[in-house]
Symmetry: C2
Subunit: 453 residues, 2 copies
């Protein structure tokens, strides 16, 4: 009835290095370009936004990058995070599959986001920065940076996508409890925000707009930098603690994953759990089926174009080559706000382009259905973003049953749903509906892509 | 800046036995009486409410009671829970005190309540029970029993105090996600509820009323039993896993607490962390200062009368001798709903009467202020109930500073505040006000105490 199998690591097993996939890629990802000159950007171009240690990580080719001791110290509060074998779920599905999940909801912010928030706060503090600006969608990233800012004594200013600001007031309370400022975006605090409001006074916002606002506020002030919670190489790098721990835990289990699954919004959750395994494969180790799961209503990897695009709406960021729906595209307001981004991590796009990833998209109701099944079996209510991974894992487990094959399935349960109970309320009340992207709006946004030679 | 000190135990260190303080008390607590005859109740009197294994635990004198393996199996999902040294808080307070906290918010329901919910669900399932009824205040207990019911295949019916049902809709969603039924109390489903509604159609409910409803529903059906989340001996027994683990963790730390602090509503949180330490003291070990913290607006231990009283409003329960404000007293609707009970665990009342406990009461705003200070230092937002323990711990640490003495302070951080962000919102907006109990209402309720020879 209740056989909990938990693979626990000792504190000394918290990785001492992050893993940098750049060292093992068969070809490097296309360079990041300056928005005006379309020439590859150098460290100086990024210096107004990020501390130098972070910029160096962004372009590093070293396989292992040391985790600073003060960062490991904070990690120790909740790391190593547990790896569970989902035996009760396996029984419920009557599947021969071996389902494992890495649970990142044990962090004080309830998701994987502190893995990079702590690191970024540390590097900013070390370089004398006083204040960090950022954007947040569902609020998990903003909460994590608020927490990190509080621990390292930094002011945090969070532009929160307006639709989430209104739907998730408790996320704002969470950030403010840690002393952060939380502003609904688009706001009238920035030129980028005012421009949107002039044209669309009722704009519900988007991550692209919020990024513009946060970037604008950072470049205006010398003592202020900007932080991003996903997409960029250094963010994915910091998240590899997840996969590195999982590898050690599979050693304990005497098993190895055949399939690794993660929800994919900006790509840091996916990169965090898959890159260490993919690195093994690229260095001649066992081949793994990598599944990137995205919402059908924001189908970046499955319907987007692999092209150079801006990370934000106001076109303040450098150009990166990524799967994109167009930087001006505003996705419908579904509940998995963390997956509501027009673009994708360049590294995830690159390996998808290389054929190393199998992307797939799900509607939100089927994801919530899977999440509730999971909660009843395993006792944990997943975040709406995490439900996408749960759904794919259940589908793979059912495929095992159909084919009469036992495969080891690993997914990253990247966060709990404690701040998303309104979404569950809607689902339970039968009010949650699937949302469709607007083909013509995407086409229009893609038509506006910058032309890069 | 960030020196996390976490004392981690191995899975094999999850206790194999609960600790029963009855074996070590200098005198037994007064007997539980039948509500009609005023004679001590026997097992048969309690059989309509509880499974026999639980009834035996309620009256057992054995020092150690074995934890069934299937219960330990579920415990393994989150136990052993971590013990932290709050070094960042110590620095912030500039105190020579050594502050430790045991963190029970790591459970899937976010509080210590699953420690007993899992055990009670197991015993009910084992004895063929199909359905369990219960009441809940803030929702932490109802959520935990919903979780336990889901894992053991039992139907769960939760009567939730109406003011909390309305203030905390997400707790209801949480329970329903696990398949439980959640009913606002007073309801028209029971005679007890209807009686209240006839007299007070706008009643916001109380734990006493909700208990009456749950008990009534249980005794009406042969396949249904009742479960209580605090107060009774067996509940406090199950919670001793907290204190037993903490003792082992203090061994690791090479330290021993001088002061042990816990919030006190029904008493299970307090009993859970203190009884193993008190047992040591009673068997000739080191004397410890035990601090029970309650809300000033429901001051059971500090202002109540130590007398026989009913556990519920409709007087369906047996009579127990406890500190009480009178079973008909309805406390004001403050945010720490889990501490909003007119009575107290008979065991906690008994040891308080024996002079072994130092009770104290705090207003809610000072508790939230302490909670926010704690969050900023330690990264965890405590539940409003837990803030009472935080406040007392901070006060004791400041007393150490004043006196220039280093003492080891242990408190039970019994749950996180993820479902209580509205309370933090109110605090941050300056809208949270202290609430006073009504002296004359308490006097009236106490005047109605049953006269027991």
């Amino acid at each position: 009835m209740s056989d909990t199998v938990k693979y626990v690591l000792d504190e000394k097993d918290i990785p001492r290095h992050w893993y940098n996939i750049m060292a093992d890629l068969p070809s490097p990802p296309p360079p990041v370009l300056h928005p005006a000159t379309h020439q590859p950007v150098g460290p100086d171009d990024l210096a107004p936004l990020f501390p130098m240690a972070v910029i160096q990580q962004e372009v590093s080719q070293e396989r292992e990058i040391e985790i600073p001791e003060p960062v490991r110290e904070v990690y120790r509060q909740w790391r190593p995070s547990p790896l569970f074998r989902a035996r009760r779920l396996e029984k419920m599905l009557d599947t021969p599959a071996r389902i494992y999940y890495k649970y990142e909801g044990v962090s004080p912010a309830g998701s994987h986001k502190p893995n990079t928030a702590i690191a970024q706060a540390f590097y900013n503090k070390q370089e004398g920065v006083k204040r960090i600006t950022t954007e947040t969608g569902a609020g998990q990233w903003g909460s994590s940076l608020a927490l990190a800012g509080s621990l390292f004594g930094l002011e945090i200013e969070v532009f929160m996508v307006k639709v989430s600001f209104q739907q998730k007031p408790y996320r704002r309370s969470f950030m403010e409890t840690f002393g952060a400022k939380c502003i609904a975006s688009p706001s009238d605090m920035t030129e980028a925000g005012r421009a949107v409001l002039r044209e669309h006074p009722d704009s519900t916002g988007s991550l692209g707009i919020a990024i513009s606002e946060a970037v604008e506020r950072a470049v205006q002030r010398d003592d202020t930098k900007y932080a991003l919670g996903s997409v960029l190489n250094h963010v994915l790098l910091h998240q590899t603690v997840i996969g590195l721990e999982a590898m050690k835990q599979f050693d304990l289990a005497g098993d190895y994953p055949d399939i690794v699954i993660a929800p994919t919004g900006g790509g840091s959750n996916f990169g965090g759990i898959t890159f260490p395994f993919l690195g093994e494969q690229l260095r001649g180790g066992r081949k793994i089926d990598l599944v990137a799961v995205e919402p059908s209503a924001c189908p970046t990897l499955t319907r987007g174009k692999y092209a150079y695009d801006f990370g934000d709406t106001a076109h303040l960021t450098p150009l990166v080559k990524m799967h994109t729906l167009g930087s001006t595209y505003v996705p419908p307001g579904f509940h998995a706000g963390g997956l509501r981004y027009h673009g994708m991590a360049p590294l995830v796009s690159h390996i998808t382009d290389l054929g190393l990833v199998r992307p797939r998209a799900y509607q939100q109701t089927e994801c919530f259905e899977a999440g509730i099944l999971f909660a009843k079996a395993e006792g944990i209510i997943p975040a709406p973003e995490a439900n996408h991974g749960v759904k794919a894992a259940i589908d793979e487990a059912l495929r095992c049953k159909e084919e009469g094959v036992s495969r080891a399935i690993l997914f990253n349960l990247c966060g709990h749903g404690h701040f998303d109970m309104q979404a569950y309320r809607d689902y339970l009340d039968g009010k949650l509906v699937d949302q469709e992207y607007d083909e013509s709006e995407i086409a229009m946004a893609l038509a506006g892509l910058p032309s890069v030679a």
